[in-house]
Symmetry: C2
Subunit: 276 residues, 2 copies
């Protein structure tokens, strides 16, 4: 999916919600455990319930892989299910990969050929040749970790270099030599809304994937105040706040309500910001 | 496997060779492609051929995952095969994982519970809470990326901070607050042998996992000159130089010869360094 298609979908659905799929076998409703493929069943029901309100899904590979090869199969089936039933929805493999070139090329093959994801989250530590193999696929995206939403972000991402920039700023600046806003996004944590002004100075047009709204404590309004572009430019992720809003048999309908609530707020923001 | 057991194995085998398992479906000998599980068959034959000379195997998850869930099954079977037949050999899941705490905990479950690997390679960018879930398992190790062997290492790892340290140095210093030399190692690229003196100042006792000897151009002797500790303290990885030394039906026997050659050099180094 290209940049224009993503923007068109946001305007059509009046939403920039990304639903994070983190299906933990120990947290999903117990009635699903007797099914043949609980992680897939859980994911599928969440998808069907929330698809009217979401422009992206972000299945988190860790939660599937924890079940070994069977979990990887659930992951693939989930991606295939979205692609088949909701072809306009952007699929992000949240995998945080990144390795030397020939190995990153293998990961790119996994997510872009073996599966048909639109984007992969990638860690920047190993530099350009660890990222560029993911950029060799037309219509596919890298979502590079810049400023993450966890406490540990402070350990290295705020390290000030002798040229005055912080490490996450250097990641954003340097990586723009590798790709444009049409095939790269950045992960920027919502618990750091005050940094969005700086991020927008560095990356005025790039989409930002913003985790941490909801369970991790970020504010949607704050992020939008500083982060919106004229094309929206934000994908706001919510995982636990939607998928685990209920642990009962009504989990899908409650997830739907939560997604709808967020979409309503987003519609209002898009309208008052004259994006739609 | 704990530190003492690893050191004992090195002394007994007179080797500190780690064989990297990077089974690329497009590179393995063609006669294997008709087998039911080519990646596993290739890995198994390489393991049986090289086990007398290796103290560690490092299956690279990317090369297995590229085949989707079937590749993940090949990966699991490979780990299980090593564990069952060579219980004293150290198994490194080369996966370069790292995410927020609850997600890293899932990856740790994958490699330490669903599988019985001894160690996982982890990327440091997201800081302490992305690494510490891997440290919650007795006898298991984190191998943290510090100074990698690829060209892109220069993009961020050498960034000088205002306190005078380079980013990879800060990673080594900071992470020692999280774990000791008994459950953490560092990835330090062999193409940067001149940096080993500095690394040993920062981490005098830690094991270093050294990729890049062979295909990536590093020198075994240089690395040992600056990197050896009294307990050896090095695991030198070779992947392509062993597993793809021949692309014919004799690939396993040629791999055995290559591993034996490296082990002989290592035995000599261990002897002249009075480690054995």
């Amino acid at each position: 999916m290209n940049y224009a298609q993503l923007v068109a979908q946001i305007k059509q659905k009046k939403s920039f919600l990304c639903v994070g799929l983190d299906p933990d076998i120990n947290k999903i409703p117990s009635h699903l455990l007797s099914s043949q493929d609980p992680l897939y069943e859980f994911s599928r029901e969440i998808i069907d319930a929330t698809a009217p309100y979401a422009v992206a899904y972000k299945p988190n590979s860790a939660f599937y892989e924890a079940q070994g090869w069977k979990g990887m199969l659930s992951f693939e089936k989930t991606v295939e299910y979205i692609r088949r039933n909701y072809p306009d929805i952007f699929i992000i493999a949240d995998a945080k990969r990144g390795d030397i070139g020939n190995t990153s090329a293998m990961y790119a093959r996994t997510f872009f050929q073996t599966m048909d994801c639109d984007a992969v989250t990638v860690a920047p530590y190993m530099g350009k040749d660890s990222v560029s193999p993911f950029l060799d696929f037309d219509g596919k995206w890298v979502i590079l970790l810049a400023l993450t939403s966890n406490a540990g972000a402070a350990d290295f991402q705020f390290t000030e270099s002798t040229d005055g920039s912080l490490l996450y700023e250097k990641v954003i600046k340097t990586s723009q030599e590798w790709a444009s806003h049409e095939n790269m996004m950045y992960v920027t944590g919502a618990t750091k809304a005050e940094y969005f002004t700086r991020i927008r100075e560095l990356a005025p047009r790039h989409f930002l994937l913003v985790p941490g709204v909801g369970a991790q404590g970020g504010s949607l309004e704050d992020v939008c105040r500083y982060g919106l572009t004229e094309d929206c430019g934000l994908l706001i992720n919510s995982s636990r706040g939607i998928i685990y809003a209920s642990h009962g048999e009504d989990y899908a309908s409650v997830a739907k309500e939560e997604a709808h609530k967020i979409q309503s707020v987003m519609e209002n923001i898009l309208t008052t910001s004259h994006i739609i």
